[in-house]
């Protein structure tokens, strides 16, 4: 079958997996993604389950994988996606993978550590050489010298100043630039001019060993005399965490040290290069190992988690698992179990068991139907095997959207946008986009495609293309005939700013426009009077049809669940009520369209007044009847509709009560004989293969057994039925009125569109005085028009119409037959669900 009419049959299957083959079998099932495991150990905590050790080992391995991944990303490399089929590895492989991964992680850590140390060393060397290299000018000796001079020759050896006998010492080092000013200030204040400090910025930028970012440093040379000053200076530089290096007085000595330093740093750089080469080798190995490893370990963990849900049968030395499986997939399941267990020489067995709980719902969808099933499921996943509204929603949802959105131009834009998405849907760049809003639009591309297509159609019917009407066929109203027959001379026209065409005059109205709304109405000032009447009646007709279809679908539900009594006691009265009252309204609308003509326009009957009087059993003398015998017909229909209310209210509960009593009296004299209970079970089994709901409460489903009869509580049943009746009857009226939003939103869209045209585009097109002027002005005007069209009319109005069409489906259509109280079958599968 494969259709989406109702969800598929799902069976509860018990699997007996021999311990030796359990892992392989479950891994096979995970690859296929067919079955959902039921948790048989729900009362056991996660730490007490059988395979908790293995799960823990997998998790530790995953932690190591995360560390490796971070390291790879830090190095700026990417991990290639895993290729090929990677089944879950057998348990003995776990040890090997773990060892390999740990070894790689350790190596990586060591190499990183070495690299850091080497870098730090190199940094120090570089700082030292920078400090020595900086031309701070000659170190100052005398206090009377004005600040540092820029002469190259040191003054010291030739100085014969008054303090020439004092030994000048130097402190040289490097400090971060932002601390330099503070350091200088503090030195000056603390040492009161007994020192001369010179600060220079390094010429080149040095790489910071930790972050790897280039940074400039300030080197300083402080010349001072006196021990105490020296101590103070050292304390201050320590406090500022400066790097202090020994500074020799003689230039040659300094040069020698510099050369040494340069040699050392060269060697260090070679070693560093080797280290980094080794590091990239290790990273290469990680890149190879990591992607398949991650996939394999993830699968392994999933298999162990699934195995944790099975219960152990000590006698048979096998694991027992209970799974939900679609009946159609049972042969595949058997085959998979055979494949998995044949290697070990044992065989795994699967057999169906009867179930008391409601099975999960499974509806197979392809990428086209998935979005429509998605919007139905967003309201509620259907009960097991109840009628699925999704296949009808594929068409009615875009259609109702289009009724509210109808415009050829806007529909075409939407259609083209969706078409672009659909045609490029297989491109990896499109699939990999991360933006959530784009993902939302992309997920609904088929929805948008159909919505755009239907909007083009309804746009043609409404005769609106960016709010302009088109004359595909000639209009059915002849202005010339009216003008000629009423004597509308030019003088007359200039005196009367507005004139109305009269359809009573022959030749004015030539017949209905064959496809859609006549284009003359877009030129008329009273177009809303006509359009409102048309759209309101259209909304009521579409609404009553949609709701009647919903009640009709309920028939299939009642028949499937073996509740044939509800056909007579619920569906029939519901249909009579709905069609007798609102179907009659539709009939009145269509009758008036066909029968009343312009000749009798002044005395045309008002449907609204007739409808109100119908309920009040009253009459309005000024309102002509539409057809002969209308009063009698209306009277009969109202009485009939009122008569269906008690049937709805009491029919099903009384029937169930009678059945319940009959069953009790049947059983009591026989006294729990096996014969009777067999008869009961046989009859109940015969009525439905899967689920048979016992009381009117549709949420509880189960096979009726002896112990469930006590659950039939009459008051609950009556209460539920009363709620359902009130909901239906009042809902008929309110839901029909609710469909008027089709009119309201289409009116809003049309008016917005017209305002945009009149206020924006017409100004640009109306500048026809000079040729060049219009062309230049039209460019920004069109830009504004386009932006506002997309932002207001497409996005805002589109979202609004989408929402209201969705509401109409969820509430007005689905509450006639859909309960939506099921849960989805979520199969045990290894594929990561990205979409």
């Amino acid at each position: 079958m494969g259709s989406m009419f109702r969800s598929e049959e799902v069976a509860l299957v018990q699997l007996l997996l021999p311990t030796a083959a359990a892992y392989t079998c479950v891994s096979q099932l995970g690859e296929l993604g067919l079955v959902e495991f039921r948790d048989l150990n729900a009362s056991v905590s996660a730490f007490q389950r059988r395979f908790v050790v293995d799960v823990r080992r997998c998790e530790e391995l995953e932690k190591t994988f995360t560390f490796l991944k971070e390291e790879v990303q830090r190095a700026g490399l990417t991990l290639p996606p895993p290729e090929g089929a990677l089944p879950a590895p057998p348990p003995r492989e776990l040890l090997r993978i773990q060892e390999e991964t740990d070894r790689l992680a350790q190596e990586l850590r060591d190499v990183r550590g070495n690299q850091q140390a080497l870098r730090a060393q190199l940094h120090q060397l570089q700082l030292h050489s920078a400090v020595l290299d900086q031309s701070h000018g000659p170190p100052m000796a005398a206090a009377h010298t004005e600040g540092p001079s820029s002469e190259r020759t040191p003054l010291l050896p030739t100085a014969r100043g008054p303090h020439a006998d004092l030994k000048v010492n130097f402190v040289a080092g490097a400090v971060e630039p932002y601390k330099a000013a503070a350091l200088e200030r503090l030195l000056w204040r603390a040492c009161r001019g007994f020192l001369i400090a010179s600060f220079r910025e390094t010429e080149g930028q040095l790489e910071d060993p930790v972050t790897g970012e280039p940074a400039t440093w300030m080197t300083f040379v402080i010349s001072y005399w006196g021990e105490q000053i020296g101590q103070k200076i050292r304390k201050i530089t320590d406090c500022f965490h400066c790097h202090v290096f020994p500074y020799l007085e003689q230039e040659e000595a300094r040069r020698g040290v510099l050369q040494q330093l340069q040699q050392q740093s060269q060697e260090l750089q070679e070693v560093l290069g080797e280290t980094e080469r080794f590091l990239s080798q290790v990273l290469g190995r990680v890149q190879q190992l990591l992607p398949p490893g991650q996939v394999q370990i993830r699968k392994m963990k999933a298999v162990y988690l699934a195995l944790n849900q099975c219960s152990v049968s000590t006698t048979h030395k096998c694991l027992i698992a209970e799974v939900w499986c679609a009946t159609r997939d049972l042969p595949t399941l058997q085959q998979a179990l055979q494949d998995g267990s044949s290697e070990e020489g044992v065989s795994a067995v699967a057999h169906r068991i009867p179930c008391r709980d409601m099975p999960p719902t499974l509806v197979r969808t392809n990428r086209f139907t998935a979005s429509f099933q998605g919007i139905v499921d967003a309201y509620g996943v259907g009960r097991y095997r109840e009628v699925n509204p999704a296949p009808y929603t594929i068409i009615t949802f875009p259609f109702l959207f289009a009724v509210m959105f109808g415009d050829v131009g806007h529909g075409l834009l939407m259609f083209l946008f969706a078409l672009a998405m659909v045609l490029t849907e297989n491109r990896p760049s499109v699939k990999a986009a991360q933006n959530e809003i784009w993902q939302t639009f992309f997920g609904g591309r088929y929805l948008l495609l159909l919505m755009g297509l239907f909007s083009v159609y309804t746009g043609f019917i409404y005769n609106e293309c960016f709010s302009r009407a088109t004359t595909i066929f000639p209009s059915g109203w002849s202005v010339a005939a009216m003008a000629n027959q009423s004597g509308w001379s030019d003088k007359y026209l200039s005196q009367h700013p507005m004139l109305t065409l009269n359809p009573n005059i022959t030749g004015v109205f030539l017949g209905p426009y064959p496809f859609g709304i006549d284009p003359i109405w877009s030129l008329a000032t009273n177009h809303l009077s006509f359009l409102n009447s048309f759209k309101m009646k259209m909304s009521v007709i579409l609404g009553v049809t949609h709701m009647a279809f919903g009640v009709f679908l309920g028939i299939f539900n009642h028949m499937h669940f073996g509740q044939a009594h509800r056909l007579l006691l619920e569906t029939l009265p519901e249909l009579i009520f709905l069609l007798g009252l609102f179907g009659y309204l539709v009939f009145l609308i269509v009758y008036k369209w066909l029968r009343e003509s312009a000749a009798s326009a002044s005395t045309a009957p008002s449907i609204l007044i007739h409808f109100i009087n119908m309920f009040l059993f009253a009459q309005s003398p000024t309102n002509q009847p539409l057809f002969h015998g209308q009063e009698v017909v209306q009277y009969v229909l109202v009485v009939l509709a009122l008569a269906t209310v008690p049937i709805l209210l009491l029919g099903t509960p009384l029937y169930l009560l009678r059945q319940h009593r009959r069953r009790n009296t049947q059983r009591r004299p026989a006294g729990r004989e096996d014969k009777d209970s067999d008869k009961l079970l046989a009859s109940s089994d015969a009525s439905s293969t899967s689920v048979n709901s016992w009381n009117a409460d549709e949420e509880k489903a189960g096979i009726p057994g002896d112990e469930e009869e006590a659950e039939f509580v009459p008051s609950e049943v009556f209460m539920h039925q009363a709620i359902h009746t009130i909901e239906f009857c009042l809902g008929c009226i309110s839901n029909t009125a609710s469909y008027l939003r089709l009119w309201a939103l289409s009116l809003a869209h049309a008016q917005l569109s017209e305002v945009l045209w009149a206020m924006v585009m017409r100004i640009g097109l109306g500048m026809g005085r000079e040729m060049g002027m219009a062309a230049v002005v039209l460019v920004p005007v069109f830009a504004a028009f386009a932006v506002l069209t997309v932002a207001i009319l497409l996005v805002m109005e589109g979202l609004s119409a989408f929402l209201h069409a969705l509401r109409l489906h969820w509430v007005e259509f689905q509450n006639k037959f859909y309960s939506g109280t099921g849960y989805k079958l979520s199969p045990f599968t290894f594929t990561v669900d990205n979409e």
Partner: protein
């Protein structure tokens, strides 16, 4: 072969239905084939060519046939496959929705009770443009 026989019987049935429908339409009071009656020559002797009248029966026949082909005959030609049910549902639903919508639009304009109110500029312009 069976499919073709079914298709042929479907077409026959459609033809019969159409004939019945046409008869029914002609019974209902229509503005239908009313041709433009030439008016008495007014004061100004402007020669006005006759505007073509719109019939009602012709569009009804055409569109009923069109959507009928899609909704009733179409399902017979859907190839067998896993999606057959869905495609048939889609065809029928499309035909019903679109036909109903078009029908409502044309029925609403069949017997207008009032005419459009136009500005004098529009009258002056359209009078000579749409002839």
């Amino acid at each position: 072969m069976n499919q073709r026989r079914f298709a042929w019987s479907r077409a026959c049935a459609t033809g019969i239905t159409l004939r019945m429908l046409t008869a029914l339409l002609q019974d209902v009071h229509l503005l239908g084939e009313s041709a433009v009656r030439p008016s008495n020559p007014p004061e100004q002797s402007i020669a006005h060519p006759v505007m073509t009248a719109h019939s009602f029966a012709l569009p009804v026949i055409i569109f009923t046939t069109f959507w009928g082909l899609i909704g009733i005959a179409g399902p017979w030609f859907v190839p067998k496959g896993p999606n057959r049910g869905v495609i048939i549902t889609m065809l029928v639903a499309t035909a019903v929705c679109c036909y109903l919508f078009w029908l409502i639009a044309i029925l609403a304009q069949l017997n207008p009770l009032f005419g459009p109110q136009l500005k004098n500029e529009t009258i002056w312009y359209v009078r000579f443009l749409w002839e």
